[in-house]
Symmetry: C2
Subunit: 198 residues, 2 copies
């Protein structure tokens, strides 16, 4: 049962990336060193540095990786979403979930750390743009709207910005009850405004 | 021209609070020590500690103070807002400005630091609730809507969450162009949905 070298290397890399997100979400940027992540992943520090030369490389790659895994997963399972009027509520809920879980918490620590770390900022700015574009594309697909119609693009963007705001509101306290009411209302608004323009 | 002791003390306190916000917005939590703030305010470290026994007290008081100054200022100048359909756009713009400037940047650093600092969290959780309630009350007043009508409360909250998301999106890059399109669109949506329910 010898695992080929390439597979082992890929598995190590994945464990490092997932441990990096967990560490960042739990401990924040200051507490998330390469040594902490390597230990959580059960990997030597040297092996971690072989995969990611700098701490900044490791964490930027981690946010990129888990975001891609998440959006791929949502796409694969999108057939399970309800149809008709229930669909909009389900899609808004799904989009908001992308910003109220561990990945957003980790990304937030990275974004905030990047405000006072130039090397990190250079990695995070294009990463933020990429993550934002992917989330936008996914929301358009799931809502099944036509972005060339006037106002649709801005409405989808407003939805994603609202979801980011809900992520922030969930940082220190459990905001799920208030959030559910906002998601209901937002879905009603989207049904009215997006259909009126479709 | 001898300034009474009480006035001098109040002026020192205000300088410390304003310097604390500037330091937090520019340097983040890790760089914002009491010594840094005292130096910026032109006050001795001992005098700073006389006003605020701990670093956490100083920064929580600072966010509270500048938020109150800001909301008071907006209320006093609300007569300058246009009437009719232009009003909604102007109010949304004003609400979003509350979350895209220096105060939000400072508050964000404090919120994120509080995720891994229990003492800070105990101060920040009630502060966040207070700031959120004040912003909500102000938005309801400026929009001139009736919160007892179904859906209105959630729509106003969604507007504030969207504004917080726009604040995040402005953290590392200048997002003002994209933001203007979203504010336009959201004002249109508010005019339709809030008036339909009024």
């Amino acid at each position: 049962m010898r695992q080929p070298q390439q597979d082992r290397s890929r598995a190590t890399r994945q464990r490092l990336l997932e441990s990096a997100i967990e560490a960042l979400a739990e401990l924040g940027w200051a507490g998330s060193t390469v040594a902490v992540v390597a230990e959580r992943a059960g990997v030597s520090r040297g092996a971690a540095q072989h995969h990611f030369p700098t701490r900044e490389d490791l964490f930027a790659a981690a946010v990129d990786y888990v975001t891609n895994v998440r959006t791929d997963w949502i796409r694969e399972h999108s057939a399970d979403l309800p149809s008709g009027r229930e669909r909009t509520r389900a899609v808004v809920d799904l989009v908001v979930r992308m910003y109220t879980g561990q990945i957003f918490r980790a990304a937030l620590h990275l974004w905030v750390a990047a405000t006072s770390d130039e090397q990190l900022r250079d990695l995070v700015v294009p990463l933020e743009a990429h993550v934002g574009r992917e989330a936008h594309k996914l929301a358009v697909e799931l809502l099944g709207v036509d972005e060339t119609a006037p106002g649709v693009r801005e409405t989808v963007q407003a939805t994603l910005d609202m979801a980011r705001g809900l992520g922030l509101a969930n940082l220190l306290t459990d905001d799920s009850k208030r959030r559910a009411g906002i998601i209901d209302r937002w879905a009603e608004i989207l049904d009215t405004t997006l259909h009126a323009r479709a």
